[in-house]
């Protein structure tokens, strides 16, 4: 018993130390999720909202939002990929090529974040509308281009809005990259392309994976960009949720859609993490 004393005390201390984070976790993550789960099994009250019940009807009704799911599950990955395509060269430029004024350029990357996202996206509405970019294209002979209220406009908005989220993790991983490794590769006959492919890219994968996960997860819940730049014609799961909670006030069905979104996200992120870990194991790069 004497020996159990300190051990038990240690256990109590550990429990006490863990208590705040556990409470935090339960209060902020588990409890809301439980509420949503319970709601998703209930019924819509006649005046809207939630009414207790136990039915899977909301889940069976999910195909009614199939388009929203397919839109999100195509445009979110495509948007993530586009962000990556635009962000990587920018991050590379900032981390490797820029010597002076680096801080200033980094600030420029996040500068748009200092103004309202809504205001910036509204500026894009103006740019993409008929009197914006399409009218400039018409001047050089490319007529009849329509951008606003199309999936292209939504993707442009996504790339614009999420670029910094992609740039920074990649920038950090490229910044940390030992520049001598690039010289070593050149010394070993690797031309710039081979150096990029065999050294720079593999070593910046942690940043790429972080950036992609960050952007993808947020894109899965995106609703503002499709609403504003898609003109209500490009409909994401996020838009379906906003409508269900804020317009038709069908909380149970909204909860079912939310749960479905969470499940899809867990599966997608799980697969991505697994792939990243696999890459990490074969390349010995700590990806996560």
């Amino acid at each position: 018993m004497k020996r159990a004393g300190p051990g038990r005390r240690r256990a109590i201390v550990t429990a006490l130390l863990l208590a705040p984070s556990t409470l935090w976790f339960v209060a902020l993550l588990v409890m809301p999720l439980v509420v949503v789960l319970v709601f998703s099994l209930g019924e819509r009250a006649p005046a809207g909202g939630y009414q207790a019940g136990f039915t899977f009807a909301n889940y069976l009704n999910l195909p009614a939002r199939l388009t929203a799911f397919t839109n999100t599950l195509t445009l979110a990955p495509v948007g993530t990929l586009l962000c990556l395509v635009f962000a990587y060269p920018l991050a590379y430029f900032l981390a490797v090529k820029v010597k002076r004024a680096k801080l200033m350029l980094l600030v420029l990357v996040i500068l748009p974040f200092w103004t309202s996202f809504l205001l910036r996206t509204y500026a894009w509405i103006i740019l993409l509308s008929g009197k914006g970019i399409p009218s400039w294209l018409a001047v050089v002979g490319i007529e009849g281009v329509r951008l606003i209220n199309t999936p292209t406009a939504v993707l442009i908005g996504i790339v614009y809005g999420y670029l910094p989220l992609m740039v920074f993790p990649i920038y950090v991983s490229l910044e940390r990259l030992d520049k001598r490794l690039l010289e070593a590769a050149a010394d070993l006959y690797a031309d710039p392309i081979a150096t990029f492919r065999r050294v720079t890219l593999p070593l910046s994968l942690p940043g790429v994976v972080t950036g992609c996960l960050l952007v993808f997860i947020l894109l899965m819940g995106e609703y503002l960009i499709p609403q504003l730049l898609g003109g209500g014609k490009v409909f994401f799961i996020g838009n379906a949720l906003v409508d269900l909670f804020l317009q038709s006030r069908n909380w149970p069905f909204g909860s079912a859609v939310a749960i479905a979104l969470v499940v899809i996200m867990i599966v997608a992120v799980g697969l991505a993490t697994r792939w990243a870990k696999h890459q990490g194991a074969t390349r010995e790069v700590s990806l996560l």
């Binding site: 819509r44 006649p46 005046a47 809207g48 909202g49 009614a64 939002r65 388009t67 929203a68 809504l118 205001l119 509204y122 500026a123 509405i125 103006i126 740019l127 509308s129 008929g130 009197k131 914006g132 329509r146 606003i148 209220n149 609703y223 503002l224 609403q227 504003l228 003109g231 209500g232 014609k233 409909f235 996020g238 838009n239 379906a240 906003v242 409508d243 269900l244 909670f245 804020l246 317009q247 038709s248 006030r249 069908n250």
Partner: protein, 376 residues
């Protein structure tokens, strides 16, 4: 898009007033708040109203109040007006249903008041505390729904209609009906027409295509309306209640439209014409009400009383472009405004219009129909 135009839009955005009803709101950003008309360099001083607290929270629609009026209120009472704008009645109700919204004054539309009252979301009004409101000055046609079963829950603000706006330099067919609106959308003007992101008006006016009631909840009639909407959707430029920028930029040339927006659009471009479909459509009245859980009831009464004062209300009308229901206010307005056919349509087009029906705001069939249309 030239610089002047951009700055103009920017300024309107900053005022929290891009369009009536739906900019922030219908975009899903219903909680976006714009605090306006606060201490603009002037230290509020306490005056006659005595202690009404230092803030009154007003829950309303975009572009719906003259900031100068609110400023005067603040100077007179010491209470700043905290303004929150919403996109739709649905959204406003959703916010109140969720509880503890903290609003003092609400601007609901006629057809929602009974639902608010039956859910105990708003409180009966003590008219003695709104001495500047004179029921006899209002046309009962517009004011009836402020009372539920004899209890007054709301006092009228202004009224309006829902028709459609056309850019007559492009829409040259001179349409006069909802049937023409929907047919032109699917043919000649495909890709350049907008409808509201608002089930009441979009479904209601689709119902008018077949001559059904704007307020129908008949399953068969709704099925027909859905069929039309799904057929129209690929031809739409957008589903958005923020249609003014697209109309002005020329991307859209026809859109479902409210009275005040039509007035504002015509101010920008004389080719903008307002059409009330001959089949009918919506006529509505907006009211002032006080939420049941309003934190500052005294302040709420003070603000409502101030805003319904005829000379103040006249300034409001000049700002937002919707006709007042108050004869005393109208007496103070210029003649050309009172004769404007957008504000005051001819009797024969006004006659078939319907007020939105009680219950539509909570109707699941219409809500789901609209959601299917949007997500199709």
């Amino acid at each position: 898009m030239n610089k002047r135009e951009f700055l103009y839009h920017l300024r309107r955005y900053q005022q929290g007033s891009i369009s009536r009803r739906q900019f922030l709101g219908a975009t899903g950003l219903g909680v976006a708040s714009a605090v306006l008309a606060t201490e603009l360099g002037l230290r509020p001083r306490r005056a006659f109203a005595g202690d009404i607290g230092d803030r009154v929270s007003l829950c309303t629609w975009p572009s719906y109040h003259d900031p100068a009026n609110l400023e005067v209120f603040t100077q007179a009472t010491g209470a700043t007006v905290e303004m929150t704008v919403f996109g739709s009645n649905e959204e406003m109700m959703a916010k109140l249903q969720a509880g503890a919204a903290g609003y003092d004054v609400l601007v609901p539309t006629n057809y929602t008041i009974r639902d608010y009252a039956s859910q105990n979301l708003i409180q009966p009004l003590d008219l003695a505390q709104i001495p500047n409101h004179d029921p006899s000055a209002h046309d009962t046609r517009f004011t009836g729904e402020g009372a539920v079963d004899g209890t007054v829950y709301a006092v009228p603000k202004d009224w309006g209609t829902t028709g459609y706006v056309i850019n007559s330099s492009e829409v040259t067919e001179g349409p006069t009906t909802w049937k023409e609106f929907w047919d032109l959308t699917q043919t000649t003007h495909s890709g350049r027409v907008m409808v509201h992101d608002y089930q009441l008006t979009t479904i209601g006016n689709a119902l008018k295509y077949y001559g059904y009631s704007f307020n129908s909840i008949d399953a068969a009639e709704l099925a027909k309306a859905e069929e039309l909407l799904l057929a129209v959707k690929p031809h739409l430029f957008g589903i958005n209640s923020d249609y003014k920028p697209s109309m002005l930029s020329g991307d859209a040339i026809m859109s479902i439209c409210w009275t005040g927006d039509a007035v504002q659009l015509r101010r920008e471009n004389a080719a903008m014409q307002y059409v009330l479909g001959r089949e009918g459509g919506e006529i509505w009245t907006d009211f002032y009400a006080i939420p049941a859980d309003a934190p500052n009831v005294k302040g709420a009464y003070a603000l409502i009383d101030y805003l319904v004062t005829p000379d103040i209300n006249a300034k409001e009308v000049l700002f937002h472009g919707y006709p007042s229901t108050d004869a005393r206010t109208n007496a103070l307005l210029p003649k050309e405004l009172l004769e404007d056919p957008i504000l005051y349509p001819a009797a024969e087009v006004l006659a078939p219009l319907e007020f939105g029906a009680t219950g539509l705001i909570t109707n699941e069939a219409r809500a789901e129909l609209f959601a299917r249309f949007k997500s199709a």
